[in-house]
């Protein structure tokens, strides 16, 4: 619910065109603004790479301590034949696990928020479990679901993702403004209607916050799960094997691929958020 404001005029930062909003600006002018907004970040990134490149030579660092960016790029191209399929498999594990964990977390959240006693009994456990280093269970998942099956990695990811999703969605469904519920009651709305029209929209921002945390966790879960064994054409195995062969340029190349996937994954979720909940404070500009 928006805060009441004192003055009787539209809040600043209103982005929806209305009777008093300025005329729409041209696409070219907006593209220029976007470029200007990102320019400093791009400059810093490129400068960082250049500095890294020259610092390695200047300090005389060994290739196995810190390879140059150019060497990492070369390794990436040289090993593309193995690294790209590896990244693809790891990504499938991460996405699969994310889907399973998010689905399960959301379902349990709906059940717990519907039944107050279930929530009171389960939520403390869920919060406690969230503090457990769940990644330590990876070898057990490998044992249960087959070390060579992608399902074992998906299950590691799913467990990792489950708790933040469940806790956040439960909060989103239950932390509803009391007067919003009273308003709905005054219309004699059913619990089902209140769920659909108030609780679920209220939970969406919480869901996306959880999903953004979960995308990062899903890649960590998949890669670390792979460290404990499995098929070779996955990022985790490529990292372990190249490191033990002292080919650290290849290790870095695999890490760069993992990082790139993580960023793309996060941006996809952030984009979905903008698309689906443009009304929320975390997304909208100004007010």
């Amino acid at each position: 619910m928006a805060d009441p404001r004192a003055a009787d005029r539209p809040a600043p930062g209103s982005s929806v065109p209305g009777p008093r909003s300025p005329a729409r600006r041209s696409a070219a002018s907006r593209a220029w603004d976007t470029l200007r907004y990102y320019a400093p970040a791009i400059v810093v990134f490129v400068a960082g790479l250049v500095l890294w490149e020259f610092a390695v030579s200047a300090l005389g660092l060994q290739k196995f301590i810190l390879p140059k960016p150019s060497a990492i790029a070369a390794a990436l191209i040289e090993r593309a034949g193995t690294l790209v399929p590896s990244a693809r498999t790891t990504f499938v594990e991460a996405v699969g696990g994310l889907a399973i964990g998010t689905l399960a977390g959301t379902l349990v959240a709906f059940v717990t928020s519907r039944f107050a006693t279930a929530r009171d009994a389960l939520l403390p456990w869920a919060v406690a479990a969230n503090a457990v280093p769940i990644i330590a269970f990876a070898p057990i998942m490998n044992n249960w679901f087959g070390v060579l099956s992608p399902l074992s990695k998906m299950m590691i990811v799913a467990i990792l993702v489950f708790f933040p999703v469940m806790i956040n969605v439960t909060r989103g469904l239950s932390q509803v403004d009391a007067s919003a519920v009273e308003l709905m009651r005054s219309y004699a709305a059913s619990e089902w209607t209140i769920l659909r029209k108030v609780r679920i929209p209220n939970a969406l921002p919480f869901f996306f916050t959880a999903l953004k945390i979960a995308t990062t966790l899903s890649l960590i879960g998949a890669i670390v799960g792979e460290y404990f064994g499995g098929v070779d054409l996955v990022l985790g195995r490529q990292i372990v094997q190249s490191a033990s062969a002292l080919r650290f340029d290849v290790t870095w190349a695999a890490i760069v691929l993992g990082a790139a996937m993580g960023i793309v994954f996060y941006l996809v979720v952030a984009g979905l958020e903008r698309l689906l909940i443009p009304w929320h404070g975390s997304v909208r500009e100004g007010g």
Binding site: R5, G18, E182, L183, S186, Y187
Partner: protein, 282 residues
Amino acid sequence: MTESAPAVVTIAGVDKTFEVAGQAGTQALQGIDLEIRRGEFVSLIGPSGCGKSTLLRLIGDLTTPSAGTVTVNGKTAHRARLDRDYGMVFQAPVLFDWRTVEENVALPLEILGRPKSERIARAREMLELVELQGFLRHHPYQLSGGMQQRVAIARALAFEPSIQLMDETFGALDEMTRERMNSEVLRIWERTGTTIVFVTHSIPEAVFLSSRVVVMSARPGRISQVIEADLPRPRGFETREQPRYFGLVTQVREALHGPQAQVATVGGPGSPARTAAEGAVG
């Protein structure tokens, strides 16, 4: 309003005690009898803790009495709520940010299962009534506090409930916006002929708006006096400058402060007490 108009709300012998586990309950309301007739504008005023909001919530079946009965349109308050006899406006506008202004106003009609074309037409009509027809596609967070409250009023009017319950609706607004909103709510009331029960802690607001002012006292909450606010209508800017208006404001103030105020008019040692009490209310 005329005496002959039928009763919309009849409250008879109502007590309300809030039970706290392991403790003696807090008595919020005691022996409340009140009848509100069709088309009346009744304000409930009193110091904080006098149970005026609780009384409003009892009428709206958002809480139930410990003793006594609340009858609305000849039914129990519960039945009346299920029949959608109430429009509610709270102190906070309680708008949903994920809905446009138009969709917020159409919400009760949506719950009532009215067809979409009717919902849109009705929402637009109501937004015109509160002079927000230019903001259909805006979202609540893009509006000021006063505009948000007008959307909430439009929403409460949208499905033509027989009674409007307003709980300190303008309490969070600044004085100037509040006076403008008061005139606006009167204009709407006069046009629609709805019945309004209005909780406030502002004496001028209660006098300016109401046909009757119900003055309550605290601990336990009781009705101490009911004052007919017989100012001519339509009321406007000049109403606030009439001698009768000031007379009614004084009458309500004295009713609120009870015996202390009378001691003060005589003068003597009671005077400081009156000043202190006046500072506490209104």
